[in-house]
């Protein structure tokens, strides 16, 4: 049958039989069944945009047929685990892996010294793949083991002796700002990133204000808690080409980081992203991938690593804790005349995504409000704690908690309805943002009215 006949216009209509016939049987029978191609539904689904179309991947999710990284296994595959420092700040004097290497079932051990370029990071490249001379937080990896089973790899970690020379550590960002505070990354100071935003003249605004409100707000360290832990498999083949299956949400960046840390040209690296079991910003950067790659190179076998739930908390990124000082001047009618914000971010042990978080928090901190006079000073501070990285919102949930809490305080003090004071100040189409950008497609007021109306806000006045 030549392809013309199969795809000719005349037969087009009935060639694409009903989707149900073409789909794989719901219950995959035991192997050795003819796999029929899945051809689309004849049903009309146009126009496509705006339709509540069922997702293309959730039929396999519901059947349990979606393959996540941990569901993949390859012949001769080894299992890797990483030994965590367990000390917040120290110099590594000696690592002795001989006893671990002799354990039956252990095939290879890796330490920081074996990593070609032992540093990476989206802006400041201050993060080691495995700590080599220094440890900067308890979750730092110091050595890794590849073994024939995960349990043997875990047992081998206990056989690795590491001699530390403890160093003074600092945990609170405000303490880290003190002149005599221990330096997390000497010789650099503990403030490693900052932003300034200036628009108009806040002092003039405050002078003209009917009332001024000041408050400090603090938000805590939270974790992404994707239900799928980080997982990856690395295979270094005989051509010197590396294939990585990983729960990475950003494979182009991941390949670049692998190229840097392993000193490999980009075409020698293939990063295959799986269906990821939840990211929320927690799986945006490499974690164990270079380690698995080098263990695979040492053993000539694929090496799989799956983080424990404890490692998800201690050895992956978290949301930046914020300390936020807000000073806002309002007119008698409740119009915001000036807003001054100081943000201090607890960056944890490495920079990671701080620059992005700092930038967004600084720009967004004044809120979706028409304010002529804005001044924002934002800085990020190293501490010997878990690494603050990307998490859903990049600083916006933190600053929104501050500016919307203060908005309600101002409304109460001026005896205004919290809805009214927001409608009074909110952006309109064409308003200028704190960075002077003329905003388009602006619907703040529409969202305020829609929510209030659906909630029945005005049925009960405060």
């Amino acid at each position: 049958m030549n392809t013309r006949e199969r795809h000719g216009a005349s037969v087009f209509g009935n060639v694409l039989e009903a989707d149900a016939d073409m789909r794989l049987p719901a219950l995959v029978p035991p192997p050795a069944f003819p796999i029929e191609t899945l051809v689309p539904d004849v049903l009309k689904q146009t126009p496509a945009v705006g339709q509540r179309v069922p997702r293309s991947d959730t039929r396999l999710h519901a059947l349990g047929q979606t393959r996540y990284i941990e569901d993949l296994t390859f012949p001769h595959m080894l299992h890797a685990r990483i030994k965590r420092a367990g000390i917040a700040a120290a110099r590594i004097k000696r690592i002795d892996t001989r006893e671990a290497e002799r354990m039956p079932g252990v095939v290879a051990v890796l330490t920081g010294g074996e990593i070609p370029v032992n540093s990476f990071g989206p802006s400041l490249q201050d993060q080691p793949v495995l700590a080599h001379e220094r440890v900067f937080h308890r979750g730092d990896g110091v050595a890794a083991v590849a073994a024939i089973s995960e349990q043997i790899a875990a047992d081998a970690l206990k056989r690795i002796q590491v001699e530390y020379e403890p160093l003074p550590a600092v945990f609170d960002p405000l303490d880290a700002l003190a002149p005599d505070a221990p330096l997390v990354h000497p010789p650099h100071g503990n403030v490693y990133a900052s932003r300034t935003l200036r628009k108009g003249d806040v002092e003039r605004g405050f002078a003209a204000a009917y009332r001024i409100f000041e408050a400090r707000y603090r938000t805590q360290m939270v974790e992404h808690v994707s239900i799928e832990p980080h997982a990856a498999i690395a295979e270094w083949d005989a051509n010197g080409r590396l294939t990585i299956w990983s729960t990475l949400g950003r494979i182009t960046l991941g390949r670049a980081d692998l190229s840097r840390t392993l000193n490999l040209p980009l075409n020698r690296i293939r990063v295959i992203g799986s269906v990821v079991g939840g990211n929320f910003g927690g799986k945006n950067e490499i974690t164990q991938e270079p380690v698995l790659a080098l263990l695979s190179k040492k053993t000539g076998r694929p090496v799989k690593g799956v983080f424990t739930r404890t490692e998800e908390f201690t050895a992956t990124t978290v949301r930046h804790p914020f300390i936020m000082d807000y000073k806002t001047g309002v007119s008698r009618e409740g119009r915001i005349l000036a807003r001054e914000v100081r943000l201090t971010l607890d960056g944890g042990a490495y920079c990671s995504w701080t620059e992005t978080t700092l930038g967004k928090a600084c720009i967004l901190s004044a809120g979706p409000y028409k304010i002529d006079n804005v001044h924002v000073e934002a800085r990020a501070v190293y501490t010997n704690k878990t690494v603050s990285g990307a998490m859903r919102g990049f600083g916006a949930p933190q600053v929104c908690f501050a500016y919307e809490s203060q908005m309600d305080d101002m409304a109460r003090a001026l005896r205004m309805d919290p809805l009214e004071i927001r409608l009074l100040n909110a952006f309109d189409e064409g308003s200028a943002s704190p960075t002077g950008q003329v905003l388009q497609s602006v619907v703040v007021k529409e969202t305020l009215r829609a929510a209030a109306e659906r909630f029945g806000w005005n049925e009960r006045s405060t």
Partner: protein, 339 residues
């Protein structure tokens, strides 16, 4: 005694990276039976990228969503993408996919134009057909055109494109500039019951009005809002990593790090607010991160409305709420001094 309160919070949030280039590239191949395959470097992390990008390509090519298959997340085979981050997939990757589909469609229009005797600019693609604008009777099945383009004209309908949101770098001193190409807006209202003897806060209801530009798939937008609110409830009332004096995490497990279960969730009503952004694919922007931004503020304002205490530190655990009630119950804000 349980005291009820309500709180409102609105927010704005940018779509895409801050100033730095964050391009997405895509390739669309129209197969010789009129179905299509899209290659994208982004990764499906649960947010629905595969479905949304499929709908955008289908819309541009005038075919059904199920006619499109997305190949994603393989640096060997798929073009680069900055990644599933910053709520950018629908807006930036979506634009790249739309432009790539348009480039593929241009090939089809040239072939179809000859068959239908009109200039390619007179054609449109709808319902798996390529037809003359204003005179749909004159049309040809997209499969036939694709087949002819590839097998007869020897020009397979393959289009590639990339897109980067237009921004203006920020002045280092003042941050003045255009850091993002577009923003989305939202308001959430929370209704809570506060037990004034134990401090326990129960979030009863959250109304969420969100702008995402054109909702490419309203069902998935609702899913993002409901998931974001769950994260917001945890952020507001339950979640915190606690350290000891030696920098050790004390609650590094899902037994002791408290995230909301189905019994902790409020009823949620989602309202997708009418909005269109011409810079986005078919007017679409994004919604992934904004959904959890205003929740904590709305809940804390509702606590204030219920029991008259302003908590300025998250999470507002039952202990902190009770201690605040016991301390004053009347002063507006523990930290706020009025000049």
């Amino acid at each position: 005694m349980k005291r009820r309160g309500r709180g409102i919070a609105c927010m704005w949030y940018p779509i895409g990276f801050t100033v730095a280039a964050n391009a997405s590239a895509a390739t669309v191949k129209v197969n010789e039976d009129g179905t299509a395959t899209v290659l994208t470097g982004t990764v499906e992390t649960g947010q629905g990228a595969l479905t949304v990008l499929g709908q955008i390509a289908a819309e541009e090519l005038g075919i059904a969503t199920d006619d499109v298959h997305i190949v994603s997340g393989d640096t060997d085979a798929t073009p680069m993408d900055t990644g599933a981050i910053a709520s950018r997939t629908t807006y930036v990757t979506g634009n790249a996919v739309r432009l790539a589909a348009a480039n593929a469609k241009a090939v089809l229009f040239e072939v179809a134009g000859k068959k239908l005797g009109v200039s390619p600019t007179e054609l449109e693609a709808r319902d798996r057909k390529i037809q003359v604008k204003g005179y749909p009777q004159r049309s040809v099945a997209i499969g036939e055109v694709a087949y002819e383009a590839q097998v007869v004209a020897g020009r397979p309908a393959i289009g590639s494109a990339s897109w980067n949101p237009p921004t203006v770098p920020l002045d280092p001193e003042t941050s003045q500039g255009k850091p993002f190409s577009t923003y989305v807006y939202a308001t959430q209202i929370a209704e809570v019951d506060v037990d004034d003897e134990t401090g326990e806060v129960e979030v009863l209801r959250v109304i969420a009005a969100h702008d995402c530009g054109t909702p490419v798939n309203p069902m998935l937008v609702e899913g993002q809002v409901e998931g974001g609110i769950a994260m917001g409830v945890g952020f507001a009332l339950q979640e915190e990593i606690v350290f000891d004096g030696a920098g050790r995490q004390l609650n590094a497990s899902l037994t002791n790090y408290i995230v909301p279960t189905s019994l902790d969730m409020p009823d949620i009503e989602v309202d997708i607010v009418e909005s269109y952004d011409p810079t986005g694919p078919f007017g679409a922007k994004g919604v992934g991160e904004p959904t959890s931004v205003p929740t904590a503020a709305a809940i804390l304002n509702a606590i204030y409305d219920a029991v008259g205490v302003r908590l300025t530190t998250l999470p507002a655990t039952a202990e902190r709420v009770l201690m605040a009630i016991k301390q004053n119950g009347s002063r507006i804000a523990s930290g706020t001094s009025v000049l």
